[in-house]
């Protein structure tokens, strides 16, 4: 097991190194200079700016300096234009927790709700409850999260005034979650629907299997049989979709954050892209890669823990 984790971590590290190199080089090879719109600037000042951020050196040399700084001092460089002269790590440090809270919370509310609706739909298969849930599933899977975000923001937030329409900066504890309710709901609808759809299909199949018949024959009630035998066997495939769901939420949160003015990584990434801030953009992209790779690894490990039939580290046949 340890050997397997080690191998996976090594593979992840190599992938991350490739991504880092790609990101670093491609961002710097972008067309257009970064200080183009500063017109009242002398050539000397421009040269000084370039020299300060090592932009006057060849890309590979820049990359070497960058890697050296990151490894020795955990120094991700300075923001070039977004918040000039602030360290990138300092900017990111404030934003990462907000984004993580938001994403984890949407995932946490979507798993139980998705499982609940999935079970309900499977047990009540082909009744009106099932049909209503199926229609909702199709809608929630199809309609993009930013459309839901606009709907919630306008009707629940603006017309009814139940929740704040934008995030209140600086709030903590309950107030923070209260002002984050709408974005969390907007992000959670799609995962809820996805989990419901998978679980319904799996459970509907499991309910008809022989061991469920046995469970009922030996005297378990319908509920006992479903909860103890049915769900346990159908929940596994959900696990493999969790990674996809989490990456889905992550990319959705990019847009949702800017709609609800949440000062998180998504908004930062959009701003840094539009402002052409090399250092901040590359740091946000590396952050998203890390999250995505990490969740894939975690899920693979979890799979082996939950289902002993999956031999972790087993070779493919």
């Amino acid at each position: 097991m340890l050997k397997y984790i080690g191998e996976r971590l090594l593979a992840m590290f190599i992938t991350l190194a490739i991504i880092l190199t790609l990101v670093f080089c491609m961002i710097r090879m972008m067309p257009g200079g970064i200080y183009d719109e500063l017109e009242d600037i002398t050539q000397e000042q421009l040269d000084a700016l370039y020299a300060k951020h090592n932009l006057d050196k060849p890309i590979l040399v820049q990359f070497g300096i960058f890697i050296k700084n990151v490894v020795t001092d955990w120094d991700w460089g300075y923001s070039l234009k977004l918040q000039p002269n602030q360290t990138v790590w300092g900017i990111l440090g404030d934003k990462i927790p907000i984004t993580i809270y938001e994403n984890i919370f949407s995932l946490m509310i979507s798993i139980p709700l998705g499982i609940g609706f999935g079970i309900l739909a499977a047990i009540k298969k082909n009744t009106w409850i099932d049909h209503v849930i199926s229609v909702m599933v199709v809608i929630c899977i199809s309609v993009p999260s930013f459309v839901f975000a606009s709907l919630l923001q306008y009707f629940i937030g603006f017309k009814l005034g139940l929740f704040p329409i934008v995030y209140e900066p600086g709030s903590t504890g309950f107030a923070m979650f209260y002002s984050m309710t709408l974005p969390i709901v907007a992000l959670a609808l799609n995962p809820i629907a996805t989990i419901t759809r998978y679980l319904r299909a799996e459970l509907a199949e499991t309910i008809n299997s022989d061991f469920m018949l046995l469970a009922r024959t030996k005297g378990l009630t319908e509920a006992q049989a479903t909860v103890r035998h049915g769900i346990r066997n159908s929940i596994l495939p959900i696990l493999s979709t969790l990674v996809a769901l989490f990456t889905n939420i992550m990319s959705g949160s990019l847009v949702i954050e800017s709609i609800f003015s949440i000062p998180g990584m998504g908004g930062l990434m959009i701003k840094s892209i539009n402002a052409i801030d090399y250092n901040v953009t590359q740091a946000t992209l590396v952050f998203y890669s890390l999250i995505s790779l990490g969740s894939i690894l975690l899920c693979d490990l979890l799979y082996g823990v939950v289902d002993p039939r999956v031999r972790v580290g087993g070779k493919k046949e």
């Binding site: 972008m30 993009p144 606009s150 306008y154 990019l254 847009v255 990434m269 959009i270 992209l285």
Partner: protein, 398 residues
């Protein structure tokens, strides 16, 4: 059934010379099959048509495509015809405006109740509160005044419902069906032009994605061994990079625009198709009929494309149908990131993200594209489900 035998007692009285064979003069041969033979596609089409939901979805998509092609020409406004005087007009549709929806009116909040000659703001000229005695700016276009009771800086406030088209000085028979945007451009024209661009992006990228995935997966699956190993490692490396990162990088490097969006969508999406085709090839390449064909000297190329690939036609079509809505989604997503198609051209994502900026003031700017994109996504997903059920009934309901 009783059979005639000359010896049986009950037939003794029958005159045998009168008996004739029934089919004496007919030629007896095999009859033709009743009904028509049903091939693979016909079978699928029958199953598809039985599914009401996907049939409706199919027609919704058809209508959307027709509107996307011809919609911009339904009125005389150009998609980039700017006019600062008529910006932010609310929707007004002939017919519907008689019954009070989409009638080109708007509530204006926080207006002063009484006219103040110094600032030029305010509505009523005097205390009579008659609609005939209002300030020049609002003359003739006020439909309703509602006093809010608020007093700000000693001035009584109110909200007014006005005919916005008259307010900006347009005739009664000027209609902007979906209103205008912040530059005074007609949103109906822009919406369908945007839908056209989004659909072009979706169809082209999906077509290319299927084409590349098909050839790649077929080669990997058919040849197997080290070819498969190398090809699959390459896809693993590309797939390991998160999609947001690779798409953003691609767009940053090649700049925003139609072609670069299509390529950015393509860069990872073909991998799923390739993997699916590869699995199909592993399944079918060991069949006897393939062996028979090979024994007869059929070339690899023909084996791949004529003998094995047609087996996967169902999953390929289904997959393409799933890829289209996800392409539309990614395009809008990129537009929100500021990496969409370039102005003045537009797309669903650009319209949505532009409208989002003034959602509280002009919500109709978001609702029109939001409804169209949602309908398109729902319809394509339902169509994909229906097609999957039609091509592979064993998968029904999954």
């Amino acid at each position: 059934m009783k059979i005639f035998t000359p010896d049986a007692p009950e037939y003794q009285s029958v005159d045998t010379s009168k008996l004739v064979l029934v089919q004496m003069d007919e030629t007896i041969s095999d009859t033709k099959f009743e009904g028509k033979p049903i091939g693979f596609f016909k079978d699928a089409a029958i199953r598809f048509c039985r599914n009401k939901g996907s049939l409706i979805a199919f027609f919704v998509i058809l209508v959307m495509i027709i509107l996307a092609i011809f919609g911009p020409n339904f009125n005389d406004y150009g998609y980039n015809e700017q006019n600062g005087d008529i910006k932010d007009l609310p929707p007004k549709v002939p017919g519907l405006c008689k019954i009070g929806i989409m009638d080109g009116t708007r509530w204006m909040e926080g207006r002063q109740l009484y006219y103040d000659p110094n600032t030029g703001a305010g509505i009523y000229l005097d205390e009579t509160k008659s609609l005939d005695r209002v300030s020049e700016k609002y003359a003739g276009c006020i439909l309703k005044v509602e006093e809010t009771g608020e007093v700000i800086a000693g001035k009584e406030m109110c909200r007014v419902k006005i005919d916005y088209y008259k307010y900006v000085g347009l005739d009664d028979d000027t209609y902007f069906w979906f209103g205008t945007d912040y530059l005074g451009r007609d949103l109906w024209t822009r919406l369908w032009r945007g839908a056209r661009i989004s659909l072009i992006i979706a169809f082209v990228s999906t077509f290319a994605n299927v084409a590349i995935g098909l050839v790649y997966g077929a080669i990997a699956g058919y040849y197997g061994g080290w070819v498969d190993m190398v090809l699959m490692r390459i896809t693993e490396i590309i797939a390991a990079i998160p999609q947001i990162v690779i798409v953003t990088l691609f767009m940053l490097y090649f700049g925003a625009g139609l072609t670069s969006i299509i390529f950015a969508l393509l860069i990872q999406n073909w991998i799923g198709t390739a993997r699916m085709i590869r699995t199909q090839f592993y399944r079918y390449k060991g069949y006897e009929y393939v062996l028979a064909a090979r024994t007869l000297g059929v070339k690899d190329f023909a084996l791949i494309f004529k003998h094995i690939l047609p087996n996967s036609i169902g999953p390929i079509i289904t997959r393409a149908m799933i890829a289209i809505p996800s392409a539309i989604f990614t395009e809008s997503f990129l537009a929100y990131l500021g990496l969409g198609v370039q102005a003045p051209d537009t797309s669903m994502g650009i319209l949505l993200s532009d409208g989002q900026k003034s959602l509280m003031q002009y919500p109709y700017k978001v609702w029109c594209p939001a409804i169209v994109i949602s309908l398109l996504m729902i319809a394509f997903n339902m169509l994909a489900n229906g097609l999957r059920d039609a091509f592979d009934p064993t998968q029904r309901g999954v």
